[in-house]
């Protein structure tokens, strides 16, 4: 395959960036999108140029490191995959591909396509946990039965990989799918009930502080989420916040 890549290049957070065009040839349809970028980078390095920086690690769709806004969509045109599992067979010979970083004020660019998503971590620090110390004397795992339904729903919410595609896709750069998923996981389990009110209030407050936009329920995040996290989690977070405020 022969392709024309239009890639966002930005030397550092402080410098201005621009789209730079790179023609590339000899791409196999069996390559993953990141392997295609590896090919480009090895050519750039051999030519004495700086390679394109992008985040990636596990390359099996679970660590949430890889990002990229490809031809106007987070993680590219395929559904339910991260960029590392997007394969070149989804493109046609001769295509022009725009590759941009995930964009949001809360995700500043570090270099080229690498962005800083530590805002997500700080939201978790504010309440993404159950306050329990490690002791070895917690009660038996089977002491509180949890309905299969609740356990499965909690699991579905917990599959979020924290990649930030929801923020990148949202026209408002809202992080509510991410926060809603974490709030939901704990809200659905009996262990999470004790701190439920504080958790949702603290996490939402931190989310607002980070400069994410508001949710206008376009549903784009759910469509682009590589793990298919449901909008229901945002509804649940909204309910949890109402409940928490009514309690006072």
């Amino acid at each position: 395959m022969n392709l024309t890549l239009k890639i966002w290049r930005q030397k550092s957070a402080k410098q201005k960036g621009e789209i730079v065009e790179y023609p590339i040839s000899g791409i196999s349809p069996d390559m993953s999108f990141l392997e295609m970028l590896d090919v480009l980078n090895s050519k750039l390095i051999s030519a004495g140029e700086e390679p394109v920086a992008f985040d990636h690690d596990c390359r099996e769709g679970i660590c949430g490191s890889c990002s990229l806004y490809i031809n106007g969509e987070a993680h590219g045109p395929d559904r339910r995959v991260t960029t590392c599992q997007l394969h070149m067979r989804k493109f046609k010979d001769g295509d022009t591909i725009f590759i941009e970083p995930f964009r949001a004020k809360a995700f500043p660019v570090i270099k080229d396509l690498v962005v800083d998503r530590s805002a997500f971590d700080r939201i978790q620090h504010a309440g993404g946990f159950i306050s329990i110390n490690t002791s070895g004397n917690t009660q038996d795992g089977n002491a509180i039965p949890i309905s299969k339904h609740a356990a499965d729903d909690a699991m579905d919410a917990a599959t979020c990989i924290g990649c930030g595609a929801c923020v990148a896709t949202c026209k408002n750069s809202s992080a509510m799918l991410f926060v809603g998923a974490k709030v939901s996981q704990y809200a659905l389990l009996p262990q999470g009930q004790v701190e439920a009110a504080d958790r949702v209030q603290n996490m939402v407050a931190q989310m607002d502080l980070e400069g994410f936009g508001n949710c206008t329920n376009t549903g784009a995040c759910e469509v682009e989420c590589p793990k298919g996290i449901s909008l229901e989690n945002i509804a649940r977070m909204n309910r949890e916040l109402i409940k928490a405020n009514l309690k006072g």
Binding site: G72, E100, K171, S173, F212, G213, T216, N217, N238
Partner: protein, 227 residues
């Protein structure tokens, strides 16, 4: 409560609550207006009642005005906040791949509805206020006193073609706004359960039928003008 209204989700819920109120109002408005097509006498009587009942005039009307202003003001504030949350925009963005046009353009459909509302106020509400509270005529009767004036005033307004067209466009935007807004409001207050699916269909029906009904009323009076 003030901290609740400062939080992103608090604002979103307030937006939804004002939307519910406005949707109920629109339905009520529609119910009265459609009477003008079938039963001008009843239309006149209800219009007179609405225009002179102190509860409607001095409690519900201010609440309504507050609701409208709040919904618009909050809408613009949120839009501004959402825009500044992405300072550098994408070179290529395929919004239509993952969301509807209506959901992405609430600010434009809402903005047009605001323009429509201004004209609508100039057309009906301001003359009404003038007649009742400045001129001081609360009789609700025509100048010759033969009948209530409301039906006749309504018909008169739909004589010029430009206004009919403008109103129809206004209702189209109302429909687009509601097509997303109706269900969005329910999602915002956290309603997402086994009724969601039926509610979605109901929302679509509401969002198309009610504005369509308003269009029918406007066209009816344009084509059946007795004056």
């Amino acid at each position: 409560m003030s901290s609740f209204l400062k939080s992103s989700i608090g604002r979103k819920i307030a937006m939804a609550l004002s939307a519910f109120f406005l949707m109920v109002f629109i339905l009520q408005h529609f119910a009265i207006n459609i009477l003008s097509v079938f039963n001008p006498e009843l239309f006149n009587e209800i219009s007179h009642f609405m225009g002179n009942n102190p509860l409607v005039q001095f409690v519900l009307q201010p609440v309504l005005i507050f609701g409208v202003v709040f919904h618009f003001a909050m809408g613009f504030i949120l839009e501004y906040k959402n825009r500044v949350s992405r300072t550098v925009t994408y070179a290529v963005n395929k919004g239509n791949a993952n969301s509807t046009w209506m959901s992405r353009n609430m600010i434009y459909s809402g903005g047009f509805i605001l323009i429509f509302l201004v004209i609508h106020f100039i057309d009906f509400w301001i003359p009404e206020m003038n007649t009742k509270y400045i001129v001081g005529d609360s009789s609700g009767l025509l100048a010759d006193g033969s009948d209530y004036r409301y039906y006749e005033e309504l018909q008169e307004k739909f004589i010029p073609l430009w206004r009919v067209v403008l109103y129809c466009i206004g209702f189209v935007f109302l429909s687009l706004h509601l097509l997303h807004g109706f269900n969005s409001a329910f999602q915002s207050v956290g309603a997402n359960n086994k009724y969601t699916k039926s509610l979605k269909s109901f929302g679509k029906a509401y969002a198309t039928l009610v504005p369509l009904g308003f269009i029918v009323i406007a066209l009816f009076h344009f084509f059946n003008n007795v004056h």
